[in-house]
Amino acid sequence: MGVNERAQELIDDFNLFEDWSDKYEYIISLGKDLPEMKKEDKKEENLVKGCQSQVWLIAEQNGGRVYFEADSDAIISKGICALLVRVFNGQLAHEIVGNDLSFIDKIGLKEHLSPNRSNGLVAMIKKIKTYALVYSNS
C-alpha cells in the first residue's frame, strides 16, 4: 500500500469512532502497541524539538524507501507517532515528500496541528518530510 492508501485506511478507521473518547482511546492504544525505541537511540540528536513531551524520531533508507522509528514519553504523543509511522513507514521517499497531509484533518486531528498544542505533530511531520527529502535527493 502506498501513502495515500494507508492514509485512507486510517481515515476509514477513525470514521468508526463516535466521540472523542473512542478516538483518544484508539490513539492511546496505538501508542501502547508501538514498540519502545532502544535506549541508546533516545538521544538529544534524535529529539523532535517543539514538543512539551519528549519525542524521538529516527529514519533510515533502503532501496528508495524510508523506514521510521519513533517514540515518546507521553502516551498520546506516542500514539500520534504510531499514526505517522503507520502512514509513512517503508514508503517511497518522493511519495512522503508529496503527501499533502489532508488525512490529519480528515481523522479529526487538525486541532493538533496548532503550534500551541505543543505535542510536536507539526515538528514530527516536518522531520519526517525532511528525512524523506534528503533521501529522495540522495
Binding site: Y24, Q52, I75
Partner: protein
C-alpha cells in the same frame, strides 16, 4: 468564607466562564496563566474605542484631553490600590516581564559593577532570571541563587548568608507561579534593608490573590501585570520608590519620555513619563483602572478564605488518587496546585482534561531551573481564582480520574 451565593454572583461578572468547551461547561483552572475579565473591563475597553479613542498627553483637543485624564485617573487608582506614595512611582509597562527588564537594564547600566551580586531564588520564573543574567553579563556582576526546601519554601538562613556588601539587589517572586508558595516578603525586606540592599518583588502571581501595600511592604520595586489580575493584556505596572526610579537611566528613548530634544543633548521628562516612551496601550491602561475598581470592591478576607478552602479541598481530594504527587507543599500558599503522576505524563493529562472541558496548564511553567531542582520535566498545574467553586473541583477530580483510566 464567601457564601456560595456570593461566589456565584461574582461568576456572573465573567462572561467567558459561561461558555462551553468541547461540548462541556468550561472549567477554567488556568488562572495562573491569565485570568478571565469581568464585563466592566471588557465594556470599558469597548467604549474607549467606540467613543473616546485618541492619543494622550499631547492633543489640545477635547478627545485627547479626555483620554489623557482617563489614563492618568487609572494610574491614580492603581496608586491608591497598592498604597504607593505618589503617581510618580507608578510606571505603566507592557507587563511584568517588561517591568523587570526595565529595572534590570537600568541596574546593569548605572549601578552594577564587576564583582557585584544580584540575588534571586531557585523558584523564579524565567522572567525574573534571564533579565538578571543579561544584566550580569553586561556589567560583570554575578547572579546568586537562594535554594528552596523540598516543600518549595525559601531557605531563609541561606538567604541571609548570601546577603553581603556585594549584593546590589534582591529580586525574588512574591508568589511562585509553579508551586504557589507565598514567600516571606516582609522578612526578605527586613534582612535586605539591614545591609541597605534594595528589593524587587515579582508580583505577577500575588496580585490576583491578595491586596498588596507598598508603604507597608517597603520594597524598592514591585512589578506586576494587568492580565492576571482580571485586567487586559498588554499593560502592567512597575512600582518603584521615587528615589530609586530617579537613580535609573531611561529604558527606551522616544516620544513622551523627553523634556526637550536637540541633536546635542536631550533632557528627560519627569517621573513617571521618563520610563514611558512612545504611545502606550491607552485602552488597556484605562481597562486596568476598571479592573482595579472591581478588585477594590471585593471583600478580600472573604476571597482569601474562599481560595484557601478551594485549595484545601482540591489538595485533599487529589491526594486520594493513587500515584499523584503534589509539587509545592509550602505552609503558605495561594490557590495553585501543581502535581505529577508516577505513570502518566502531564501532557496526556492536560490533553484529556481539555476534552472534558477542564482547562489546566502543563509543562515547565517557564521555571526550568525549578523543574531541575525537583528532577521532573514538568507538572500539571491547577490555578484558582476567586470565581472558581468546589463543584468545579469535583468535576475536575472526576475528569482527572477518567483521564488516568484512559492513559494508564
Amino acid at each position: 468564607m464567601v457564601e456560595k451565593k456570593t461566589v456565584f454572583n461574582l461568576r456572573d461578572d465573567f462572561p467567558t466562564l459561561k461558555r462551553k468547551v468541547n461540548g462541556k461547561p468550561l472549567i477554567y483552572f488556568d488562572n495562573g496563566a491569565t485570568s478571565q475579565k469581568p464585563s466592566s473591563v471588557i465594556e470599558r475597553i469597548n467604549s474607549f474605542y467606540q467613543k473616546e479613542n485618541s492619543n494622550i498627553h499631547r492633543g489640545v483637543h477635547t478627545l485627547s484631553q479626555e483620554a489623557t485624564s482617563m489614563y492618568e485617573e487609572a494610574r491614580n487608582k492603581i496608586k491608591s490600590y497598592i498604597n504607593a506614595e505618589s503617581e510618580e512611582e507608578i510606571i505603566f509597562t507592557k507587563g511584568t516581564t517588561e517591568g523587570i527588564n526595565l529595572v534590570a537594564s537600568g541596574f546593569s547600566r548605572k549601578i552594577l559593577k564587576k564583582g557585584d551580586e544580584v540575588l534571586i531564588s531557585a523558584m523564579e520564573h524565567h522572567s525574573n532570571i534571564v533579565p538578571w543574567q543579561l544584566a550580569c553579563e553586561f556589567s560583570g556582576a554575578k547572579l546568586k541563587v537562594c535554594s528552596i526546601n523540598e516543600e518549595g519554601e525559601l531557605d531563609m538562613s541561606e538567604f541571609e548568608s548570601l546577603l553581603s556588601e556585594k549584593t546590589k539587589l534582591v529580586a525574588v517572586t512574591h508568589v511562585s507561579n509553579t508551586l504557589g508558595t507565598i514567600n516571606p516578603v516582609k522578612k526578605i525586606v527586613e534582612l535586605s534593608h539591614k545591609l541597605s540592599i534594595p528589593v524587587l518583588f515579582d508580583g505577577a502571581q500575588s496580585v490576583p490573590h491578595m491586596k498588596v501595600d507598598m508603604k507597608d511592604l517597603d520594597c524598592e520595586f514591585y512589578v506586576f501585570g494587568g492580565h492576571k489580575m482580571f485586567g487586559p493584556t498588554g499593560i502592567g505596572v512597575l512600582y518603584g520608590k521615587k528615589k530609586w526610579l530617579e537613580k535609573l537611566p531611561p529604558y527606551q528613548g522616544g516620544g513622551d519620555m523627553i523634556k526637550t530634544v536637540t541633536f546635542e543633548k536631550t533632557t528627560y521628562n519627569d517621573l513617571p513619563y521618563k520610563f514611558e516612551a512612545g504611545t502606550p496601550n491607552i485602552s488597556a491602561g484605562i481597562g486596568l483602572g476598571t479592573a482595579v475598581d472591581y478588585l477594590s470592591k471585593l471583600d478580600w478576607n472573604a476571597v482569601h478564605d474562599h481560595e484557601k478552602e478551594l485549595l484545601k479541598y482540591a489538595t485533599s481530594e487529589i491526594s486520594q488518587i493513587e500515584g499523584i504527587k503534589i509539587i509545592g507543599t509550602a505552609a503558605e500558599k495561594v490557590g495553585v496546585l501543581s502535581f505529577i503522576h508516577k505513570d502518566a505524563h502531564h501532557y496526556d493529562i492536560g490533553t484529556i482534561l481539555d476534552q472534558l472541558g477542564v482547562a489546566i496548564r502543563t509543562g515547565h511553567h517557564c521555571t526550568e531551573p525549578l523543574m531541575k531542582r525537583y528532577e521532573i520535566s514538568g507538572t500539571a498545574r491547577v490555578s484558582f481564582a476567586f470565581y472558581n467553586t468546589k463543584d468545579e473541583v469535583d468535576v475536575f477530580i472526576s475528569a482527572l480520574k477518567r483521564a488516568l483510566k484512559m492513559i494508564l
